[in-house]
Structures are given as C-alpha cells and as structure tokens.
Amino acid sequence: MCTDQMSTRTSTSRRIFIEQASALAAAPMLASLGMTETLAQSAQDYKALVCIFMFGGNDGNNLLIPRDPSDWNQYAGPRGRLAIPRDQTLSIKPSNVQGREFGLHPAMTGIQTLFTSGKAALVANLGTLAAPLTKAQYQNNQAQKPSNLFSHSDQQFLWNTGIADNSLRSGWGGRLGDRVAAMNQSGSLATCLSVGGNSTFLNGDTIRPFPVSPSGQFGLDFLDSSTSGNGETAALSQGMTQMLAQPQANVMDGVWLEILGGSIVNQRQFSSALNGAPLFQTAFPDTGLASALKMVARLISVRSTFGAKRQVFFAGIGGFDTHGEDQPQRQQELLGEVSNAMTAFYNATVELGVGSNVTAFTASDFGRNFPTNGRGSDHGWGSHHLVVGGGVKGNALYGTFPTLVVDGPDDAGEGRWIPTTSVDQYAATMASWFGVNSGDVNLVFPNLKRFASANLGFMF
C-alpha cells in the first residue's frame, strides 16, 4: 500500500507529526496497517490529483495543432471552417519531438506559458482502450473494443472507471482514494472531494466521495445563526436536532435523515476548516471552472485540518459537445476558461507551497472527428490532454501524435482517431506519482498489463 515514492520523498520533523498524532484517534489503526512509519516520515508529505472533466467531448484537434507549415496544411484542409489559422495558434516546441513545432488553441495563453516553463505537458491521442488496437484489428473486429464507442454517457463512464471492457461501477479516482484513505487522519471524509457534483470518477470500491460546493455556500441558513433574536433560529435548530434524532422504520425515511444530518455535520467541518483558509494573492477568473478550482485550492490550503496527505479532487466543465456552427466561438470560450482556470490554480498551489505536490489533468468523453461535418464536428475517440503541475515533466509531448489524414493509419472512420495511448496508462502514470505501488496500480487498473508501458514518464 505504501510505496517507495512515498517513503523517500519527504523528510520532516518528527515533532510536527507527534503533535498531529496526539489528536489522532486513527493512529492505532494505521499501526496495524504498517502505516505509521510512512506517516512519521511524511508529515509534510502531500499529493493531490485534480481531474478536470470536459463534458461533451472536447475537440482535441483544435487544442493541439501541428504548426510546421506542411503539417498545418494537412490539418487545415479537412477541418474546413474549423481550421485555426497557423499564425493564430500559440507556438510550443516540445523538447522531446525532434524540433517539431505545435500550436495550442489561441485561447490557451496561460497553458502556453506553463508549458514553456516546464510546468505543463501534453499527452497525444489518448482515449479509452480495452487493449492496444490497430486499425486492421479495429476494422476486422479482431480485438476487443471499448463498449459503446462514441456514446457520451458510456465513454464518460469508461474514462472515469479506467476499465474499458467492464461495467465496474467504481471510478479510478475513488479506487486510488480507497488505497490512500488510511493515510489521512480524518479517513475518508476529505480524501475524495468533488467540486463538480456526483461523478463516477470518485466512487471507490469502499470510499464515498464528499461533494463540496464550489461557491463555499455552507450550512443551513436557518441554523447556527446568532443573527435572529426572535426565537425562530433557536426553534428551528431545536426542531432539526430533534428530527434528526428520530429513529425511522421506513428505509427511505432513515436515509433521507442520514443525508440531511450528514450534510449538516460535514458542512460544519468544512465550513469551520475553511474559515481558517488563507486568502490568495492569485486572482481567479470569475468562471464556473475557476470557482471550482479555487475551492480545490482553498481545500488544499486547509488540508492539515483534516490531516490529509493524499487527496483526489474532481471538477467539471460542460458544453464541449460542439456539433454545430458555434463550435469555433464555443471552443474559444471553453478552452479559454480551462486555460485561465488551470493557470490560476497552478499559481495558487505555488503560492501555497505545494506547486510540485498537486497535479491537475484533463479528461473528456472523447475527441471529435477530424473533418468538419460542415458546421462543427461529431463524436470522435482519441484526443489530446493536458497535465499541469510542478510534478510534471513539462514542455514535452507524450504519446504519439496521430497522422491527420482521413482514412489514414490512425483513422477508425470519419477521422475518429484510434487512441495510441490508453486512459489506463495515463491514469497509472499519475497513480504511481501519487504513491500507489506497482502491484496496487495493476489492481486499480486491471487492464494495464495489456499495454506496453505502465508509466508514460510524464511525472517526476
């Protein structure tokens, strides 16, 4: 359960740990799991993964664009009205692609800066795969394909579960949480936190994610408030307490009160913890994703309140299903929002002194098909994704950039790229950085063994 990476990464004062441990009822349990030594060495050990899910299927073909003139021409033809002029793309020169030049979507200036400074990497043609799959195998049904390709709900689900040929209900973020929850003093409470609502991603085999409101809207307006001197708040507080204490025979009656009561107790904990959160110098844009990531940063800033050493977060942004004419405008807005929010988030983690301890990455249903459908683009498959953080070996492009040719070697049909890197590999690379040992990585990602590499090498 505890890995080399974990135990070697930190050196810290034993005194701090002892102080924290004195407040820790969980210590005996940790001892029985052989965890105490690691904990002792890692009082300042902290790592977080932040999944940013772009719902609807982001058109990766316009996130990362080949910028060498002949490459760009090859790109521009079939893209039609979706093609972004070469000189508008934001130049990046990944250190590991033999001088090949690429361009980022023009809205992603923040990412360009992070990439160039080595704090962001790209993974090319990434997607759901049950096993490595060639074009011939795909066409002749000679190898297993992910179930329900090109279907939003199914592909979102498979991205979240990390298992493309199974209907396992748990998500890989949750399964990572299962394996690290014992490292956190408050157990599961602050291990898997969603600022993006309910999602499969954080559902573990045992752990349940806790949703946190991005707005910081905590607690019931009519409880715990001293503003009302008219007796109403006292009466309501008394009534709520009584109600929550009522035993219920009917199962749903009981579950309703369990959730209502749990929400009050848990929100009080988060609310009280966040009261102590420092204010950021970093300015966050006023967008949905930025608000969500700001909340993630605030939660990270108060991690010691929960004794959290490993956390997995989930955030989402919708609107990427750009079939229509508004794709260029829509993507400009959405990728701008992603870039600006991820950049602010990274800067905030640096401000908190955990720039190298927090890794944010993108996910999405699927890419979109390469040639335009005349308006926008339709459901595709493989796509390009971003990984941001000080723990990332940045300024590099991992995986294999596809050949942008309809009916070419990477095309499953209609310019839907057959992924050359699987979600499993992408996730496992981060899981290893997160501190899950290689044996456990294979349990979390049971199909990983089918792929050539269990680590894509983009994390330190």
């Binding site: 607690g219 007796g231 009917n250 009656d253 309703w256 005349g374």
Partner: protein, 726 residues
C-alpha cells in the same frame, strides 16, 4: 407508526366547497345554493357504495336549462362547451336490482331521461306513463340513466321533481325543506320520483383521496379536491384523460409578442426561459394535472435537455406539446411523435443523420438508435413481464440487443432532417431551413439501403422507404416483450413507489400489453392501472412495508408547496426557470437534465442502507450532502419570502389561513399536514414540530404568527413525512 389525522382541515375543505359551489350557480338560481348543500348529509354504507354512482347536474347559461348525467366523461365534455358543472346532486343505482333494508326488499325503478331538441331541455322521470306523454309531445326517450327506489329504504332521501315556468327547466331536490324553499321562489313541485342516496356530506377529502392526488398531480389543491369529491378516483382519472394541455407554444408566442411590443425596433424572439416557465404554468395552474405529471414522467424517460448542447426554445416547447398531446394516448404514437421532433433529432443526432458510405467511411449516427433502445423502450436486458431480468442456463442476464442491432436501427432511422424543406432535392439535406416546430421529414436519397437488423431477429427488407423503415423499426420496439415491463416499472417509480413488487409491475405490464380491448400501449389505461392498483391505494401496504415509498422529486416538492398554498402571481405568469443549482436550488429543473440519462437512473441505489436493503431509489442520485443543504435553504427561503421570483411574475404563497392558527401550534401543524402530507404525520414528527413552534414566543403579534408558521412549515417540508411519499 401512529398517524394523526386532522379534522379541522376537512372542515375547512367543506367550507371551500360551499364557497366554490356558490360561485358556480347562476344568479337566479343562487337562492338554491344553501338549500342544496344543506341537503347533503350522511354516509352510504360501504356495502352499497360500489353499486352507486353520483348523478351530476349541469346548467347551461346559454340554454337556460339543466341536465343531469351519471357519466363523468359527458359531465366533463359538457363543461368544455360552456355548461357549468354544478356537482353531484344525489346518488343512484348503476344497475337494476333489489335493495334490502329494515323496511324490507324493494325493487328498483328506472330513472329515465328524455330530451327535447327543439327547446334544448331535459327531463327525468320514473313514471312510464309520463315518459310516454313527453315522448308523444316530441321528446326523445334517452333511456334509463340509472335506477332509484319507489319507496324509502334506510339511508335514502326523497327525489322531488320541480319545474320552473320561468326557465322552462326541471330540477330534482332531496329534502322537503329545499323543495319548499324553491316553491316559494316560484318553482312548481311536480312529483316525488322516488328515493335515492345522498352525496356524502364529508366528501372524498379523506387522507386517501389526498394521498391519491399527491401521487397523481403536482399537489392537491382546492380545485382538484373538489373534483375528486365529485367524481371519485376512477371518475377523476377518466375526466383527466380527456383534459388537454394548453400548448406551451402559446406561452412562448405571447412572450415573444410582448417583447416585440416593448422593443423600439419591432424585434423580439423566444428565449429559453419561456420554455421553462411554460412548464411551470402547466404544473401550477393547469387543469390537466395527470397529463402534466405523465408528461414530466416521460420527459424523464425520453429525455431532451438544454444543458448541452443548446436547443432552441421553440424546439423544446414543441417537444413538450408533442409529449403532452400523446402521453395519455398510445405509447406507439408517443414514441413516433417524439422521435420526429427536431428537438430529439437534434439532441440525439438523428436530425441530419445520413446513410453510410463505405468509400467515404461514413455511417449513420448511432446516438438516437442506441438511446431509444437503452432508455426509451426495451432496456439492456431481456425482462420477464414482471420486470425482473431473464437469465440464461448459466444464470447470467441476457442482452436485449447487440451492436449490429444498434447499427441496424441507426440505418433504419437515417435520412431525416428538418421538415418544410424539399426532400426531393438531395442537396437540400445539407442546407436545410431550420423548422423547429414541425416534425422531421425524410430524404429517400439519404436513407440507408440494404437490410437492417432489428430486435428479436427481425430483419427489415431492402428497398423500403425511410418512412416505412421508421414505422417498422418503431413497431419492432413497441411489440418487443420488454417494452411493457420496462416502461411500466419506470412509470410506477415516478408516481407511486421506487420498489414496486414484481406482481405490481406484472399487473401494470399486462394492461400495457392489452388494455382489455385488445389494444397495446394504451397509456391512459396504464396510468389508471398504476394509480388504482392495490399497492398504490392500500395505505397500510405502505405503512407496513419498510421498503415502501419514494422520494418526492425535488421539483415536485416545490410544486406541492406552491399549489398547497394556492400560489398565484400578479400577471398570471411565473419566472421559475433554473432550479438545477446544487448550492441554492433543487439540483433538478425540467428540461435541464445533465444528459439523456436523466437526473437519475431508475436503477440507482445508494451505498449503505438502501443498497443493503436491496432497494433502488432513483431520486437519491441527486440527493447528496451539498444538494440537501441547497434544497433545504431553497425551501426555507421560499417559506420566508412567502414567494418565489420577482416582479409581477412573482409567485406568492397564501399563508394567511396558516398564520391564523399560529396561536395554537397543534392546530397549525395539523392544518399544514392536511395540505402537505394528507393529514398524516408520524407522532414523532408531529410532536417535534409542535414543540418547536411552541418555543417561538407568542404574544399575538403578526410577526410572531409569521415566525411560528415559518418554523412549522420549514420543519414539515424537511421532514421525512413530506419528503418520502408513502
């Protein structure tokens, strides 16, 4: 669990009925109102209740005459063409027979109705000689409308016939006092027709009737309570099946017209908020409550959503109109009508999906084909007729279809695009004018050629038209054995309980498969079977079974509260639009599901007690620890503001009657429980709320009445008694 029952509330209901009836009766006749209502008293024994039917009276202000009918459908239809319903006058036997009482056995006599088309008048009589005499003067004998008794038996009342020379009209009264009062006003007493049974003085507004309305409507309100008192549950459903929805597009067009009128340049357009408001108009104030509930239920099965991508407002509201129109008709018609809405076409990409082209590596879009099978009709696994999954010899579930079937359906559904375009012109397929308010049409030139694999081994032949392929494909879905249990189970979940027993699903499925007249897919019969099933009606079934019930959907809870307090707005509109926020709203908002998979799955269970009990609880998928805070605050603020929204569209609750009870916490709580939990609360909840309300100091100031009401109502709407419908 001990249930409490509020008598005060029912007294109040009767009071409302008195007022409402008085309003309906025309002025010259108004003096009768008091007399008529005083005539209704006493209960009929349960033994004979089934054999009786109310005889309803209507008045036509145009014709100036009255008519009596036992037919609830006819009663309803006449009201649609200008007749004023005046409620049941008394009850008569449905069939001829013999009644035994303390007075001995009495044989019934026919109560015959005659009609004079020349003067537009009806008369009823038990006297065959008089009937012949009327007929001789040109009246048409319409036959018996039921049966009454020639002599008195216990519990019956006399039926006096009176005639007004002024109105040239006949009415029937049930007491001597009434008779004499009317005679004093110039009517003539003509005949004692016989004896019949009075309408119950305490009408059907019993907990069970309110519970029924809570299942079947967006919340019992005065109007529906009155209707169910009149018609009973069966009659209420029959009446609702005939009620039509006001088109949502009317609301959009009116909104657009207002914008045009208010603009300086004569421009104005639909906005998406219009589409949401139109839904709430129907929910809050529509007279077609059962239709509205069915439409909402099907909008959660055959989902479109404006979450992403954007769907034009007229497309969404046209979809709602199509669902409303078909949702109490036949499922097959509903399925086809929804399939061909541009909203659905756009949402699931059937719009513009064209035939495959191997050379160009194109294939028809599979999105709609996949979801229509998985979500709208048959589901992923073969089912028994009771909704349980079939298993093979190895005990494994059996898939309903394979990928080739999805491909087959996608081919069968190819070639469709916006209506109102030239579908003989292949190029027009790629440059259609967008018509969101009319069904899609097919381009034969863009339709897949070749055979198509459907469900159950059916192969569509090559060379059929796109229209024929579509009809055949939908027939194939409609006739699949999975469809009745798959749809029936979900409808039961939307109306009655999350975990229906297998026999309950089987009973409803059987009605879906055959409505008793050889018709498959009769959704009116299906909803009636759902609501009238013993598992829905027998309240002890719910109280004795710890797995019973369902969470009231958050938006339905909101509607329940608004309707319970007769919420209205100044301009008759609303501005209820986005309720999907988790922070300060309900996490649910019509037409804004996160995806085609709706707000929740019919198979969702929550880890913990629910899963351990082997239960599903769809609504709990959107019930988590932040949503619950947001929802609770939402309802608290609704109660605190006594309204929702702003401006002239602000929807205001009428809390005056509640506040009038504030001095007596028990009365206040019982009154509120009568409105929201059909007069029933667990002892624990009731005692707790009374104690909490009592804790709010009270010296009879108005603001104290407000605080006490707010405290009681907030706790009540957060209590499991309200949240979980049992």
């Amino acid at each position: 669990m001990l249930k409490n029952f509020s008598c005060r509330f029912y007294a109040n209901v009767s009071h409302v009925l008195v007022n409402a009836s008085a309003k309906l009766i025309n002025a010259p006749f108004a003096l009768l109102a008091g007399a008529l209502l005083s005539a209704t008293s006493g209960w009929v024994s349960a033994q004979t209740a089934d054999e009786l039917q109310p005889l309803y009276r209507l008045y036509s202000p145009i014709l100036g005459g009255h008519v009596y009918t036992p037919n609830t459908v006819g009663y309803s239809q006449l009201t649609e063409i200008g007749w004023k319903p005046e409620g049941p006058s008394f009850r008569i036997m449905k069939a001829a027979g013999m009644i035994s009482g303390a007075e001995g056995a009495v044989t019934t006599v026919a109560f015959t109705r005659l009609y004079n088309a020349t003067i537009g008048r009806h008369v009823m009589t038990t006297d065959l000689t008089q009937a012949s005499a009327f007929a001789a003067q040109g009246w048409t004998n319409e036959g018996p409308r039921g049966y009454i008794l020639p002599t008195k038996v216990g519990g019956t009342v006399p039926i006096f016939r009176l005639y007004s020379p002024v109105f040239n009209s006949y009415v029937y009264l049930t007491s001597e006092a009434d008779r004499d009062a009317v005679v004093a006003a110039g009517w003539k007493f003509e005949r004692l027709e016989g004896y019949a049974w009075p309408v119950s003085a305490v009408p059907l507004a019993k907990p069970e009737a309110l519970r029924f309305l809570t299942q079947a409507t967006f919340g019992p309100n005065d109007l529906e309570i009155k209707r169910i008192n009149t018609a009973g549950m069966d009659g209420w459903i029959d009446d609702q099946l005939l009620r039509t929805a006001t088109p949502h597009m009317n609301y959009l067009n009116a909104a657009k017209a207002r914008r045009i009128a208010a603009s300086s340049d004569g421009r104005g357009d639909f906005v998406e908020e219009d589409s949401y408001e139109a839904i709430w108009q129907q929910w809050l104030w529509g007279n077609d409550q059962l239709r509205a509930r069915m439409s909402f239920a099907f909008s959660e099965i055959m989902v479109i959503s404006n979450t992403a991508p954007d769907i034009y407002p007229e497309a969404m509201s046209t979809y709602m109109d199509v669902v409303n129109k078909n949702v109490l008709g036949n499922y097959r018609d509903l399925l086809q009508a929804v399939t061909l809405t541009p909203a659905m076409g756009y949402y699931l990409n059937m719009l513009g999906s064209e035939k495959g082209d191997k050379a160009d590596n194109k294939f028809p879009n599979q999105n709609f084909a996949r979801e229509v099978l998985q979500l709208f009709s048959v589901g992923l696994y073969l089912l028994n007729s009771d909704g349980t999954r079939k298993v093979d010899a190895a005990g494994k579930t059996i898939p309903t279809y394979d990928e080739d079937t999805v491909v087959g359906f996608s081919q069968a559904f190819s070639g469709w695009n916006f209506g109102g375009n030239d579908n003989n012109n292949p190029d027009r397929f790629y440059s259609t004018e967008e018509h969101w308010g009319i069904p899609m049409i097919a381009w034969a030139s863009k339709h897949s050629i070749g055979t198509k694999k459907l469900l159950g081994g059916t192969i569509l032949p090559d060379g059929q038209t796109p229209e024929k392929d579509l009809r055949d494909a939908l027939d194939n879905i409609f006739n699949h054995p999975n469809t009745p249990p798959f749809i029936s189970r979900q409808l039961i979940q939307r109306f009655v309980t999350s975990n229906p027993s297998a026999p309950y699903v089987a009973r409803v499925s059987a009605v879906f498969a055959n409505n008793g007249k050889g018709v498959r897919g009769d959704l009116g019969a299906v909803i009636k079977a759902i609501l009238m099933d013993v598992e829905a009606r027998d309240a002890t079934f719910a109280t004795n079974n710890i797995k019973a019930g369902k969470q009231r959907e958050p938006v339905i809870r909101f509607a329940n509260i608004l309707r319970a307090f007769n919420a209205t707005s100044k301009n008759g509109r609303n501005n209820i639009q986005y309720l999907d926020s988790a922070d300060d709203a309900l996490g649910q908002s019509p037409l804004l599901a996160p995806s085609v998979f709706n707000f929740f799955s019919p198979f969702y269970t929550r880890p913990g007690k629910l899963a351990a009990s082997g239960m599903v609880a769809p609504e709990f998928q959107i019930t988590n620890e932040i949503q619950t805070i947001g929802t609770s605050n939402f309802f608290y603020n609704l109660v605190k503001n006594e309204s929702y929204g702003g401006g002239d569209s602000r929807v205001k609750l009428d809390l005056k009657p509640a506040k009038s009870f504030a001095s007596d916490p028990a009365t206040l709580v019982d009154y509120l429980a009568g409105l929201l939990t059909f007069g029933q609360l667990s002892t624990g909840t009731r005692d707790n709320i009374i104690t909490s309300v009592t804790a709010v100091p009270f010296k009879n100031a108005e603001y104290e009445r407000t605080l006490r009401t707010r405290t009681a109502l907030t706790l009540l709407v957060l209590s499991p008694d309200f949240v979980i419908l049992k």
